[in-house]
């Protein structure tokens, strides 16, 4: 049956003042609904139980652990090549920002074993880590658009990600889990056409960013859905230990690459985008800005890429001395850390611990969601950009 648009009672889709008043006076019973773990907008297998009063969320209780595989415990399991096996499991925790996480693991292991990395290897690591960050943020763009009801951004994001994954395949042999970094260097040198291909990807990336902006950033429906939604103040964000774009959107310019430069990040010129209001829209904008900053870092690294060896003085069978080391980096989701304990005897770590930014950022969900509509809870969850593989590990 067609709707008669000349009917004066449906002249506008937005609720009128009288309708809102009517809703407030409506008597509703508090209701508990279950969302997830198979709900498509929970980004994997996240489950939350919402206590609702009408459309408003009164209370949210998250349940995690559906994707727990014991990646940290498995990292201790190998008797032969144990340090290498742990990387395989680390890759599969946060499957979107694999390159920065591998980078962090190797930096931590090199700190523990006292290995020197050749400059060329370190430059290549930075290039690939930044491209991995772009890959993850592009995925966020697609998924967040889908959360807000726009399915087209997904296609735009995947067009860019296809370019990146082709490059990763050419470098590491695998599209998602490359297993390419080694303690003390890289597995093998990059292909001969690496510089040209990265240059092409950077051009595509800038063009894709402009397209992302044109398609969604100014869209009034998207603005109405995301502005002022899921607000977390800077004080509250620090109290909860949030990091990454969620913290920076709240106005706190904390980026590990800047405050505690690791690898070669003190050599590159880049900005740390910071928001002011800390809502969903700013978290979205900051990630788009970070794609541009990462592309800038890649450009600089490609320009300065030195020739030379790609493997340092690493021994074939790595047995670090007794002790422990912690290394933190900025991955696509925030402050990621790897802690390795070595007993000095075995070829496998005695203990591996990953500081997962997703898991900690998820603590902000309560502040974002309580008092908001159910539809906004979906957006708030999407704007944290969780990867359940990393939350559950």
């Amino acid at each position: 049956m067609a709707i008669d648009i000349s009917d004066p009672s449906i002249d506008t889709l937005a609720p009128t003042e009288s309708q809102i008043v009517e809703e407030r006076n409506l008597e509703t019973v508090e209701m508990t609904i279950n969302m997830g773990p198979q709900h498509p907008s929970t980004h994997g297998v996240f489950r939350m139980v919402l206590a609702l009063a009408g459309e408003r969320v009164q209370q949210v209780e998250p349940f995690i652990g559906y994707l727990h595989r014991g990646a940290e415990k498995l990292g201790e399991a190998g008797d032969v090549e144990g340090y290498r096996k742990a990387v395989i499991w680390l890759d599969r925790t946060d499957y979107l920002s694999v390159w920065p996480n591998e980078h962090c693991y190797m930096l931590c292991l090199e700190k523990l074993a006292g290995l020197q990395v050749p400059e060329r290897a370190e430059y290549i690591r930075v290039i690939l880590s930044e491209l991995g960050r772009i890959n993850s943020h592009a995925m966020f763009y697609g998924a967040f658009g889908a959360d807000a009801g726009a399915t087209t951004p997904f296609m735009y994001a995947f067009a860019l990600r296809e370019e990146l994954y082709s490059l990763f395949e050419a470098v590491g042999g695998q599209r998602m889990f490359p297993n390419y970094f080694r303690p003390g260097g890289l597995r093998e040198d990059v292909p001969a056409d690496f510089v040209a291909r990265v240059g092409h990807v950077v051009d595509t990336g800038y063009r894709a960013c402009d397209e992302f902006d044109r398609l969604l950033s100014g869209n009034e429906i998207f603005l109405a859905r995301t502005q002022g939604i899921g607000v977390v103040s800077a004080e509250r964000a620090i109290d909860l230990g949030l990091s990454g774009p969620v913290l920076r959107a709240a106005g706190m310019p904390l980026d590990v690459r800047r405050v505690e430069p690791y690898s070669l990040y003190d050599r590159f010129d880049f900005d740390v985008p910071v928001g002011t209001r800390g809502d969903c829209y700013e978290r979205y904008l900051i990630r788009l800005q970070e794609i541009r900053q990462s592309l800038g870092i890649v450009e600089q690294a490609i320009r300065d890429l030195p020739a030379g060896p790609i493997m340092g003085n690493a021994p074939k069978a790595l047995r670090p001395p007794k002790g422990d080391a912690y290394q933190r980096i900025e991955n696509a989701r925030g402050d990621f850390g790897v802690y390795i304990v070595s007993d000095g005897r075995s070829a496998a770590p005695y203990r591996v611990k990953y500081r997962s930014p997703c898991f900690v950022n998820l603590q902000g969900l309560n502040d974002m969601v309580v008092g908001a509509y159910v539809a906004d809870a979906v957006l708030a969850l999407g704007s944290i950009d969780i990867v359940l593989g990393e939350v559950d590990r």
């Binding site: 498995l74 190998g78 008797d79 032969v80 090549e81 290498r84 096996k85 395989i88 499991w89 599969r92 087209t152 735009y156 067009a159 296809e162 082709s166 395949e169 050419a170 470098v171 590491g172 042999g173 695998q174 889990f177 297993n179 597995r187 093998e188 040198d189 990059v190 292909p191 001969a192 397209e211 044109r214 398609l215 969604l216 950033s217 100014g218 869209n219 009034e220 429906i221 998207f222 603005l223 493997m311």
Partner: protein
């Protein structure tokens, strides 16, 4: 309204562009030279026997414990081998295609092949035995773990007609 119109403009622009998607089973994306598909066992054509000597290092280094192998004494006379592999199974349903088995092999006896279309109706069929592993690695050159492997052309990897 300006933002919505801008989005439409972008949509029209993208409509006029060449599509990036491919009709997969009919139209394949080219594989990169380093692409790591299913691991396979190399066959030494010069002496016409398998390279593997069943030293078990790949099985012990595998993060997924998906390799099972047994060896036997060997004195075929063609090579200086003392042992040769008798059974070699890889459960490709568990394999994560990480390439560690290839890297740690001291005899260069295996290589990641470009095969990735391995779907079956039965999980049991994903357990590949020695003959199937030799089959999928035929025509593949050893490239991983070699320091200057970047520019070595890989036989069979780039040409989809060479696969099965």
């Amino acid at each position: 309204m300006k933002g919505v119109i801008g989005g439409f403009v972008q949509t029209v622009r993208s409509f006029l562009r060449k599509p990036v998607t491919r009709l997969y089973p009919y139209e394949r994306a080219p594989l990169e030279a380093r692409f790591m598909g299913a691991p396979g066992l190399l066959w030494d054509d010069k002496v016409d026997e398998i390279v593997c000597v069943a030293c078990n290092i790949c099985a012990r280094s595998c993060p997924d414990d998906c390799i099972y192998l047994t060896g036997e004494k060997y004195d075929g006379g063609k090579t200086t081998k003392k042992n040769i592999v008798r059974d070699y199974f890889i459960d490709l349903g568990r394999c994560s295609y990480c390439g560690i088995c290839v890297e740690v092999c001291p005899f260069d006896a295996n290589e990641m092949s470009p095969h990735f279309e391995l779907s079956t109706y039965d999980r049991q069929q994903l357990i590949y035995d020695k003959n199937r592993l030799v089959d999928i690695a035929r025509g593949v050159q050893r490239r991983m773990g070699k320091p200057d492997a970047g520019d070595v052309p890989v036989v069979g990897a780039l040409d989809p007609s060479a696969w099965r």
